[in-house]
Assembly symmetry: C2
Homo-oligomer: 250 residues x 2
């Protein structure tokens, strides 16, 4: 069933009028018919069934009756922020789209020493808006109740002082040296609702001075297995491993 986010609070028995966007997608594109239902997620992350009860094709306005609360837990028990040195091409889009499916709470992008692509001025605003839209659409498709937030940080200092219970850096050199314990150790130490900030370098990797600064600010170096992962694959590995650890193991 199609899922949509609404920007207010819903309750069972209420009737709501469609916004132009909702009308366009649910009725014009997806051809929702009278008495058919969609899922609606409200601003408190509750999920409801909404049944189409009126549809005025001339004014493009329709009404949905909220028939049931079908909320269930689909959000990761820990709050994961994925921070990335700006990657090349459309890799930021891949990270946000698939990272949203895999349960990330927030994405941070920032220029780093070895970033080849740079987002400056106007491009930074455009990229942020585009990535936020991708997160919104991916959250709907993945049936999430939370839309991850996308931010572009102004500098490395902001990353260093970003608040989190635990902080990791995915470091290729650690992986090469056979570091295999840190990720498990970090996950095992975490309680529900706590936050993890994980930083990933761009294609060129992380500069030694950046590693030193990260380590001086409580970031721990973690290997993600013995193979070399690309810039856009490493965050997906971490998120899938977190889901396996927190959502599948009992």
């Amino acid at each position: 069933m199609q899922r949509y986010f609404v920007k207010h609070t819903l309750q069972v028995g209420q009737t709501i009028t469609t916004t132009p966007d909702l009308y366009k997608h649910a009725i014009t594109v997806m051809r929702l018919a009278i008495n058919n239902e969609v899922e609606l997620v409200d601003d408190t992350q509750h999920v409801f069934l909404g049944k189409l009860i009126t549809d005025d094709k001339t004014t493009h306005q329709a009404q949905l009756l909220i028939t049931a609360d079908i909320t269930k837990v689909v959000e990761m028990p820990i709050d994961i922020t994925i921070a990335c040195g700006i990657p090349k091409g459309d890799k930021a889009e891949t990270i946000v789209q698939k990272g949203t499916q895999l349960g990330a709470k927030r994405f941070l992008f920032l220029n780093t020493v070895y970033s080849v692509a740079k987002w400056i001025g106007n491009k930074q605003t455009k990229k942020q808006a585009r990535l936020q839209k991708i997160a919104f659409e991916a959250a709907q498709q993945a049936h999430r109740t939370f839309v991850p937030e996308v931010q572009v940080l102004t500098d490395f200092e902001q990353l260093l002082h970003y608040p989190a219970t635990q902080k990791l850096v995915a470091y290729e050199e650690s992986a090469k040296q056979g570091e295999t314990a840190q990720l498990v150790k970090t996950f095992t130490a975490m309680q529900p609702q706590q936050s993890l900030l994980a930083f990933f370098g761009p294609e060129g990797g992380i500069a030694p001075q950046e590693i030193a600064q990260l380590q001086a600010n409580q970031f721990k170096l973690a290997g993600l297995g013995p193979r070399i992962l690309r810039a856009e694959t490493a965050p997906l590995y971490l998120l899938a491993a977190a889901s396996y650890h927190f959502e599948l193991r009992h």
Copy 2:
């Protein structure tokens, strides 16, 4: 350091002559200079250092001296085959490229009931060759010692009888019904060298008659967490979870 596959067996002290492909990439593109080194993986999956000792720029022939055996374990301890209903667009490429980085041993693609894209006749051969090339390049970049094999199956029967110690189907309906135990149970039951065959549907999902046939042939239904994953994300989730389970946990 750049890594290349060679099609014969190497030993320390030996001198080898570059193939045209190796010359082109290592010397023309990557500008390897005399006394610089590359990694060479031989046909027994051993990894060696090769030092450039001669380079004839006119004949485009160069010699590498094999200086050391630097083999270490980079292959997943269990043998994972990813089988996919043919997905749309370039998603098969994404699955093979990122799945190779994440340690898959083999990729199978096949037409299924809900496949929108179909690979028929000539297209099947072309796709297989293209995907095999992607696996080869991704294996080099990921510093693997094994190049995953890509096959296109002729029918669903072939999948049903494909040999494996354990067989799973990633089933969206299982995930929706909160199935969270099967993946952990399967991984926990497996010993090194055993094989896992995991089947993933295309965008449209898996038809009820296909699920029935799979279940009748020892495939177990597994959920991959509470969010709805896209066709190309689900195999990556399984591989990352397997790496976390078998390569990081102790």
